[in-house]
Amino acid sequence: MKVLIIAQHSEGVLDATTLNVVRAALAVSEDISLLVAGSECRAVAEDARYLEGVTNVILADHPCYESLSAENLASLVAELAPSYSHILASANTFGKNVMPRLAALLDVQPLTDVLYIEDVDVFLRPIYAGNLIAKIQSHDKVKAMTVRTSAFPPVTQRTEACSLEVVDKVFDLQLSRRIKIEVGQSERPDLGTAKVVISGGRAIGSSENFKLLYSLAEKLDGAVGASRAAVDAGFVPYDLQVGQSGRVVAPELYIAVGISGAIQHIAGMKDSKVVVAINKDADAPIFDIADYGLVADLFDVLPELEAQLC
């Protein structure tokens, strides 16, 4: 078994989820290559040589990989793929963009959002907004998959530097062009890795009121999330949405404030270690999955919470 991981990175830094993907890869093999494709990204590759579990780093450094477009990247990885039994990436918008295209080029059926690796060819993944878990055996020669990073702890050790291999294959298909990147301008920790997430729903009522959550998040060194209703109403930016069609988070503590607990929302947070729900409707479904529920008006609770958390 040989695993190839497609690394995600930006501005010279490896994306933190790559460390979770390495952990998943270790369930398959001890022979793990990590591909760092990009433009002027040698430093990222050099750094990655010290990652626990990684036995080879492959660097593809060319301006055509600058935006990590799915078209160029999938073509590059398809070229490298025949030497590997498994190809892994994070199940986030990066991995989900490139992996299926790559799989189509390789004529294999990929797996999305793998939660657990039972054997080299048997995988568990959530379906129906996480209400069910499917156990799937893959018969393809190359098993292409994205892994749910919250289900695999990150590797943490620094080891001796592994080999660094440079490939000079250029796939400059010029099929798409990135014009602009807008990074969410939150100073809070990233939603995906924060230990505490405080999410607000429709009931928060306005972006002004969301400030109550932000100041609480600051006290708890947490990130702010939201339900779709809150995002659609324009209270907070889209990238804060937690759920089936947003981010999947699994923090130590998840506080749902004024969120009813629709299955699509629960899909994104039910693996949190401790869930707190604050809702004035005692029958709201969020209470079915909350460890601690408080039936109360959020506008009474939030100031009190903040005052008592010193």
Partner: protein, 250 residues
């Protein structure tokens, strides 16, 4: 301008899916079915382009069982011009669906394909990207805006922690995120009109593509349930629990 919108018949989004008693698969025997919400958004996106272009045809295509005709009719009632069903006996894997769609692309030569970003049944989020790969077309996934500018399409993509703006030359494949638009409702007259719109049914065999499964579903189970929690009666009690019982705050 010709726009192809692949649509999928799935469980209604309000229904909580259950495994079959023997755990072999999902039990859909009694489930209410409907048009995948993301596909509905894709149809709406195509119709908005059509609303602004006189010469625009929107084709709804499904690779599915006979009953998927209902979902194609929904798309026609919303305003699509015609439908194509590639009829299959049992659901195909996304790779096989993508190959069927590629052969429709080879026949229809659309300028644009708009997919929903994922089916709410299997949550695969694959088919659009795979069709783009098979056709060698550019792909724009998770779109929250779409603008046709001559023979280019400009899109905003929703990504983790922000968004990106991209330009793709046509023909291109796009996948729709939730916030791209709010789909229109089909009016009663339009539902009646849709019954007369052309809906071509093709047999899978006619396409001559390799749709053999690559995976075996070994079983479907319920995820581990969270332990039932408790209600607390005050903020003070909540903080006490979080500090001393759950030990998640200091």
């Amino acid at each position: 301008m010709k726009i192809l919108v692949p649509v999928k018949r799935v469980i209604d989004y309000n229904v909580k899916a259950r495994p079959k008693d023997d755990g072999s698969d999902v039990d859909l025997s009694l489930a209410k079915m409907g048009l995948n919400p993301f596909c509905e958004i894709a149809i709406e996106a195509a119709l908005r382009i059509k609303d602004e272009n006189d010469q625009c045809e929107v084709i709804a295509v499904s690779v599915g069982e006979k009953q998927a005709q209902e979902q194609i009719r929904t798309a026609l009632a919303m305003g699509a011009d015609r439908g194509i069903l590639v009829e299959v006996d049992s659901p195909l894997e996304p790779l096989a669906v993508a190959k069927c769609l590629k052969s429709i692309v080879d026949r229809e030569h659309p300028d644009l394909l708009i997919f929903g970003k994922q089916g709410i049944d299997n949550d695969n989020n694959q088919t659009g990207q795979m069709v783009a790969g098979l056709c060698g077309y550019p792909q724009g996934t998770f779109c929250s805006t779409i603008d046709i500018i001559g023979d280019l399409v400009a899109i905003t993509r929703e990504i983790d922690g922000g968004s990106e703006v991209w330009e793709l030359p046509l023909p291109a494949v796009l996948t729709a995120d939730l916030r791209l638009n709010e789909p229109r409702y089909a009016s009663l007259p339009n539902i009646m009109k849709a019954k007369k719109k052309p809906l071509e049914v093709m047999a899978l065999g006619d396409l001559g593509v390799d749709t053999r499964p690559r995976q075996t579903l070994l079983g479907v189970s319920l995820p581990s349930e969270r332990k039932p929690g408790i209600k607390v009666d005050s903020v003070t009690a909540l903080i006490e629990k979080l500090k001393n019982e759950a030990k998640v705050i200091l």
